[in-house]
Amino acid sequence: MGPRTLFDKIWDDHVVETLPDGTSILYIDRHLVHEVTSPQAFEGLRLAGRKLRHPEKTVAVVDHNVPTSDRTQPIEEADSRNQIETLERNVKEFGVPYFPLLSANQGIVHVVGPEQGISLPGMTIVCGDSHTSTHGALGSLAFGIGTSEVEHVMATQTILQRPAKNMRVTVDGTLGAGVSAKDIMLAIIGHIGTAGGTGHVIEFAGSAIRGLDMAGRMTLCNMAIEAGARAGMVAPDETTFEYVRGRPFAPKGEEFDKAVAYWKTLASDEGAHFDKEVTLRAEDISPSLTWGTSPETVLPITATVPNPADEADEAKRTQMQRMLDYMGLEAGQKIAGTPVDVVFIGSCTNSRIEDLRAAAQVAAGRKVAEGVRAMIVPGSGNVKRQAEEEGLDQIFLDAGFEWREAGCSMCLGMNPDRLTPGQRCASTSNRNFEGRQGPGGRTHLLSPAMAAAAAVTGCLTDVRELA
């Protein structure tokens, strides 16, 4: 066997059988389940008289619909309540391990998995959610699937797949002040576009990636799907092993050492073939944000909004103009200084303790600007508790931020946390599609530090000016 990539190795290690036409039956080590994309899958099993093949390889959590206000109160929205209660009935009937709403372990599925040691290096991990790519930060092959596939994994513990192509994105060098993993990823998506990774799995490599902590690597891999990639991955290294060690469900003692010995074999071999290679210099990346309604519409905070007149392709020109109209922006205006109404710090992209620390550093000793609603939504009950132990909650509360309970919240507005039409939001989430955070809402994607800077100044701001 010739030199192989990280993806090739995990893929090869999980092929049960390759069918004559080239489709493989791929074994799934971990299946994560949430309330929105599972009800129809459980119903399918029920109708066919099937069970879960391995409930002990499955974990369920409620996150998309849950209110982020007082949890001791009943859930007001009837359809949200129904979806949560349906999951609770299903996990009971099918024997699926479940973190209930009132558990400290509850949170966004892509925060909970790594935090609990449920997601580990070298695993194949799926979930009915496109941001499953997050778990690739551990050096696993993790990707989002549809509900029919959720049912397939429940019944067979496998999935039918064709191998993806390999793509490597290398970022070497040293990050400048105020530049985070979010800025790296926005720069990458701005560079390759929202279809740049289609059909590929992206391995992130280079010294700037190696230097990131696990939270940063999760931010990168989380948004691999925004570049169209099936998954994002970072080769497991000492940073990974130290992160995994001691997590509640991670292997312990001798078992852990055996696991690490295996995980160390997974990094891409010297000379392994990548179908596509992209290289960026860390020094060229500035604190960044999006101006439009596609994650590829990325600008450095120091830049001006692009002019559709400069675009040669007619369809693209029309689309750019529509984005400007929707976003309420003028071609050529400086993006910095644009007033915001709402600041949202949270989501599976940026709601980990490291993200909250970065935001708190900017918020400390400052006040949320008048007329701005600023929300902090931790990624899990455990993140919330740790932040409270570190006193971050007090920093945020003193500054005038809302300190809320864990969930997906305003990333997609399935719970009551929604923008109203025309509201402009500085958001640490992952998608700025029209209406994503609420019908008519206007989203600018940016890092936690940049979001905090927008909160305290009341407008889109270069965080370096607050240093």
Binding site: V16, E17, L19, D21, T23, I25, Y27, D29, V36, T37, P39, Q40, E43, A48, R50, E56, K57, T58, V59, D79, S80, N82, Q83, T86, P97, Y98, F99, I118, M123, D129, S130, T132, G144, I145, G146, S148, H152, A155, T156, Q157, T194, A195, T198, E226, G228, R230, F249, E255, F256, K258, Y262, S294, A315, L412, M414, P421, F433, E434, G435, P439
Partner: protein, 207 residues
Amino acid sequence: MEKFTTLSAIAAALPEANIDTDKIIPARFLKTTQRTGLGKNAFDAMRYLPDGKENPDFVLNKEPWRKAEILITYDNLGCGSSREHAPWALLDFGIRCVIAPSFADIFFNNCFKNGILPIRLPREICDQLMADASMGSNARLTVDLPRQVIVRPDGQEVPFEIDPFRKHLLLEGLDDIGQTLQHETNIEGYENRENRDKPWMPSIHID
């Protein structure tokens, strides 16, 4: 799943790139526990005005495209969220075939699982089919899956590619869980090897 063999139908052109699954079905409609009933909210933001009335300028609100069963768009159709509610919404509206120069991976996959045929064709050909579509009910397209061709109103045939396994499942309307379970002995064999080689792999039990 309903079989897909030959579809002769009205096609609607939506000449946009990057139509994401939030646009096909916004998140607030995902609170259902069923696969059906999403058609009335397909393309909600484009289809309805803020007061809830139909937007008369949107193609799927016009005759004859209200009855379109084929949808033609530009690149990267179905990007974003993995929600299978997107193909469910299309199917519930009546769409059985989507044609675009390129698709996002998960959406492409999800279409097959619901008896919707996604067809990749070069942009120039999509433009030609969009021109056919704009002629309305006098210009039905015929998608012939067994022969892998689209027959245009003038009789010209446009060939397309499809994975043979997926073609088989669509033609027969097969549930692929049943197919996979025919390989159960190999799945068991894999599990025995994994238990031996990766004894550290944790099982999850929550009290």
